[in-house]
């Protein structure tokens, strides 16, 4: 089965299923309500700049993610290349782990 045909077919099936489920409801019009605030009225819009205190974590994640791109082909050839490939990759990973350790010591993983 060609990949793009399969993906398209799946997405179309999903859309059809959604339309079918919506058709099953006797209530056609959506309820216009306020956001759920456990009994209060909203004082302002919630769509705002959310202060993400763990943004340092995303930097560390990006570093690992870039390294992951190299690990996928590495996984295929490590058996044939032998110990040298293992040592190189783990040296790279070790450096990144030092970064994680540093972030930990600097309190980047503290939530608040």
């Amino acid at each position: 089965m060609r990949t793009d045909a399969a993906v398209l077919a799946l997405l179309l099936l999903l859309a059809a299923a959604y339309c079918a489920v919506r058709a099953l409801s006797p209530f056609t019009e959506a309820l216009r309500a306020g956001p759920f605030l456990s009994g209060g009225a909203p004082a302002e819009h919630a769509l705002s700049r959310f202060h993400v205190r763990w943004y340092a974590v995303t930097m560390v994640f990006l570093a690992f993610d870039m390294e992951m791109i190299f690990m996928y082909p590495w996984a295929l050839v490590v058996a044939s290349l032998g110990a040298e490939a293992v040592v190189e990759m783990f040296a790279f990973l070790g450096l990144l782990l030092v970064g994680v350790l540093y972030a930990w010591r600097e309190g980047a993983f503290r939530w608040a």
Partner: protein, 363 residues
């Protein structure tokens, strides 16, 4: 319409209730929860997902307004049941029996949905008072007209940065929440910057958990243990352990009905106490739950020994704290009362805030 009506009837066979706790309505709430468990109708965690809003007790004016605000946001099919504070088990059963036909009645539900749609959702009465940077505050998110609600303004946080602030009521209508408590919280991100605690009263005062002077010793002990188990159920629910919370509620009902098995209650208390994960998750929170477990165990012990002084359990002397066990470090330390709650909430994350509120020791 045949398929839809049949589907609606099938869905109405298992209502998804939400129980609103009202101050003064503890007797009603306990009866409702027991009846729901007997029928197998598990309550849902948020009112928008429920189709039956069960208000257990008569709320005061402000609390009634909050419940009405939540009710306005519940989509059809829906039914609301207001129960009196001193409802008996029979009244509760009758009220619950009447739920299913109302939910399955599609034409009536459609009429009600049309009536609700005719009243548009009202914008709030107050507009932004602290609108100092109204021109570009909040990042300028325009969603086709703010609809009468201001954009988020900015305020300095403890690092001196000016960040967006949200004013959120951790309001009276929330799952696993003390009855009638409203905490108006200002959030930056998901961390609480300040908290204003308010107790919204009900129409009658709360006397269900009180033990009047002339009560026989055994009944008094059972009621005290049930009160502690009720608080434990709320804590375990807020901690995200629904299986154990349901167990605590079941033991509470058994104790109130004098149909309990002591070995089971002790086993439950032991397993909750031993859970290291729970202790880890509750580390930023005053360990009231350990004190409550202790009270339950003490009270159970007291039920067996005639002639023992009932005052001894109140100081926790007979529990594992007195024995100097492993848990002695967390013992005797009760959570904040409602008055100190505001300060203890500053600087904590929302999930921790809910746990701290659930640890509030009202006595």
């Amino acid at each position: 319409m045949g398929v839809r009506a049949r589907l609606a009837r099938y869905a109405a066979g298992l209502p998804a209730p939400f129980v609103v706790a009202v101050p003064g309505g503890a007797r009603c709430r306990v009866a409702v929860e027991a009846e729901l468990r007997r029928r197998g109708w598990t309550p849902v965690a948020d009112p928008v997902a429920c189709d039956a809003l069960l208000v257990c007790g008569e709320p005061g004016d402000e609390l009634a307004a909050a419940v009405d605000a939540v009710w306005a946001g519940v989509p059809a099919p829906r039914v609301r049941v207001d129960l009196p504070s001193r409802a008996s088990a029979r009244e509760v059963a009758a009220a619950l029996d009447g739920l299913v036909p109302v939910l399955a009645d599609v034409p009536a539900q459609r009429a009600e949905a049309a009536r609700t749609a005719a009243k548009p959702w009202p914008p709030p009465a107050e507009h932004a008072e602290h609108d100092d940077e109204s021109g570009h505050g909040g990042g300028g998110m325009e969603m086709g007209g703010p609809g009468g609600v201001a954009l988020a303004s900015r305020a300095p946080d403890r690092d001196g940065l000016k960040l967006d602030v949200l004013h959120v009521p951790l309001g009276p209508v929330l799952a696993w929440w003390p009855a009638g408590l409203r905490v108006a919280v200002t959030l930056q991100g998901d961390v609480v910057q300040s908290a204003d605690v308010e107790l919204l009263p009900g129409a009658v005062a709360e006397t269900f958990w009180d033990v009047p002077a002339g009560t026989p010793r055994r009944a008094a002990a059972r009621r005290r243990a049930a009160a502690r188990l009720d608080a434990l159920a709320r804590f375990l629910g807020a901690a995200g352990w629904p299986a154990r919370a349901a167990e605590a509620a079941r033991h509470r009902d058994d104790l109130l009905a004098d149909a309990f098995r002591e070995a089971r209650v002790r086993r439950f208390a032991r397993s909750v106490r031993r859970s290291r994960t729970l202790r880890w998750m509750a580390r930023g929170v005053p360990p009231s739950y350990l004190a409550w477990l202790d009270d339950v165990e003490t009270t159970l012990a007291e039920l067996h020994e005639p002639g023992e002084d009932p005052a001894a359990w109140r100081n926790g002397e007979r529990g594992s704290c007195a024995r100097g066990g492993r848990d002695a470090a967390g013992c005797g330390e009760r959570g904040p009362g409602f008055r100190e709650l505001g300060e203890s909430l500053v600087g904590v994350e929302l999930g921790t805030a809910r746990l701290i509120v659930a640890s509030v020791d009202e006595r």
